[in-house]
Every structure is written in structure tokens, then in C-alpha cells.
Symmetry: C2
Subunit: 196 residues, 2 copies
């Protein structure tokens, strides 16, 4: 019963990424992915709904991690601290060991418009989910939506930096730097009216 | 030659929106839209590539308006002023007379996942276009991408507020308020390190 051994999903994911990266996402079948690690197509479909799922598996956990970060913040935390707490929690699920995997995954997505679309949706879903979490922490609108979208923006930019060639800083540190940069960029708007 | 009279496109757009809103986007054909204003299907397709185009016509102008706003800012303008200038320019193409049209358009889009997808792409395209405009004004990365995405976020939130029932403030004013709120929300990050 090899197909039930722990790590089957991870083995399928690793093999799939390798094949997608070398031959192109469209050119690889589920059967070939399974075959590459000595499993059957049927086992593949026990683990993933389709080929695309290999790249987007764990999305619920991804979203939930941000939400947990918001929930873990102390009761008196300001919205900015809620953003930082969400980013910190999210960064924890991307330890440095995952960087090569994340790089390869991104390269596959960059080559395929349909996958880019799905990724765009994932990030839009993140903003919507986070806005709800912020509102539940008592942040009013439009601050809740602003905070949620800003957290998504900071995460997206930090993540892109994290997987760049030659980058070695941990994701949490990059996210902290990008968040500070956002404060520097827009902070002045709080204090003086801009001619509009 | 009624089909070449000025305003043909606007008449088709108005009729299409009305039909989409009352009967649902999927249920309306190009021929029916044309017929509603006494024109032929052929005339419809001279003006719009397809039914969806009715809702997304003018997208290039929409993007260019933001870019023009960036270009019009004085040479010494800080990134935040470039954002404000882009928002101000964009707000100008949405005068109050357009509010009922924009409300109806949004209601149609909200009912259709494929249209929501297209709208999401439009906003992603805006961020990419604006990032280039900011870089051309000498803003370094990641500030350029942060500024571009923040401008998109502020515009999106302000626009959603502008078309809400009962809202009467002009778009430029709402955008200015939302931008100030963003400064209030994230400004503190510029001055003190957040534990990450």
C-alpha cells in the first residue's frame, strides 16, 4: 500500500514541480507526475483534484495563517500591529528551506497566464479574508479594507523579493522592511492635506 | 447612415447597461442591444469587439489618466504627491454625472464571476502601469511598486465608496480622505521597528 505512506503528497508535489519547470506546465500529465515517483494516476487524483491543485494546495492554510496572526495580536494592538502580526505569522510558514521550492513554483506560474490568474485570485481572496479579520478586531471601514489590502501588498512585494536570486534575508525581515517603507511613503498623508 | 452619427457608442452602452441590469449579462445578445436603440448587430460590432467590451471600453484611457497624473506632478514631488496627483487626475474622469452609470455597471459586474475576473485584471494592470510611471519619475523599488499598489488600493476603496447608495461627495474628495486614512494607518511604521 505504498500509495498511503506519509509524504506521498509531498513526493508528488516535488516531482510535479520538477516536470513543470523543465517541460512546461501544459505539457505534463497527472499520470506522468505519478509515474515519476512510482505511483499511479489514481493515487495522484486521491491527493489532488487536478494538476493545478499541485501548485495551489494549502491555500486555505495560507489564508488561515494570516487570520491567526491577526487573532494572536494583543487586545490593545493598533491596526498597524495587526498587519505586522499577520505578516509575521505568514512568514513563519515560509522558512528558508522552502525558498528553492517557492522559486521553482513562481517560475512555473510566471510562464502560464491561467496560473497567474489563479494566483491573482488567491491574493484577492487574501485581502477579502483579512478585511473580515480586521473588522472582527474592531477596525472600522475603510481602515479594515485598507489594512487588509496593504498587508497583501506588503506580503506580495516581500515574497517576490524573498525568492529573488541571491536574496538571503528571511521573509519576516523583508516584510518588516517593506512595511516600514510603506509607512515612510504614505505617512505624511496623515498630517497634511494633499491638494486634490 | 444613422449608425455613424456621433454618440452611437454611448447609446449602445446605455442600452446595454439597462438590459444587463434588468435581464442579466448572460441573457442579453449583441443583436438585442443594437435593436434597443434601432441599430443593427453589425453596427454593434463596429463599435465593440464583444458584449463584454461594452463594460470595459475606455480601459486604456483609464490607465493613461493615472499615468498622466504622475507626469503632471512638479519635478520635486515626493512619491506621495505623485500618488495624489494620479488619483486627482483619475477622479476627473468620473464626474458626478457618471455616478448612476458607474453604479449600474458595478451591479452588473457584481453578478458575474467572469466580469469580476476581468475587473480584477484591470486593477492589476493599473498597478503594473503605475509602477512603471513611478520608476520613470525616479522612484526606486520597492517604493515604486508599493506606491503603485497603494494608489490602486486607495482608488478601489474610494470608487466603491463613491458609488454607494446615498454617497454624494465627489470622488476626488473621497480619494483624498482614503489616502489620509492610509497615512494614519501605516505612518507609524516609518518611525519605530515592528517586532517581526
Amino acid at each position: 500500500m505504498a500509495r498511503w505512506e506519509p509524504g506521498t503528497r509531498q513526493r508528488l508535489q516535488a516531482a510535479a514541480l520538477e516536470l513543470f519547470a523543465t517541460r512546461g506546465f501544459e505539457q505534463v500529465t497527472a499520470a506522468e507526475i505519478a509515474q515519476a515517483v512510482g505511483l499511479t494516476e489514481r493515487t495522484f487524483f486521491r491527493n489532488f483534484g487536478d494538476k493545478r491543485e499541485v501548485l495551489f494546495h494549502g491555500q486555505d492554510r495560507f489564508l488561515q495563517t494570516f487570520v491567526d496572526g491577526v487573532k494572536e495580536a494583543p487586545p490593545e494592538a493598533a491596526p498597524l500591529e495587526l498587519i505586522a502580526s499577520a505578516l509575521r505569522a505568514a512568514a513563519e510558514i515560509f522558512p528558508d528551506e522552502l525558498r528553492p521550492y517557492s522559486r521553482m513554483r513562481q517560475a512555473v506560474i510566471d510562464q502560464n497566464p491561467a496560473l497567474q490568474e489563479r494566483e491573482l485570485h488567491k491574493l484577492a481572496g487574501l485581502a477579502a479574508t483579512l478585511a473580515t479579520a480586521f473588522r472582527e478586531r474592531g477596525v472600522a471601514e475603510p481602515a479594515a479594507t485598507l489594512a487588509a489590502q496593504s498587508a497583501g501588498t506588503v506580503f506580495g512585494i516581500a515574497f517576490a523579493q524573498w525568492i529573488r536570486d541571491g536574496e538571503s534575508r528571511p521573509l519576516a525581515q523583508i516584510a518588516s522592511d517593506v512595511l516600514r517603507e510603506l509607512g515612510t511613503l504614505t505617512g505624511a498623508a496623515a498630517h497634511r492635506p494633499l491638494p486634490m
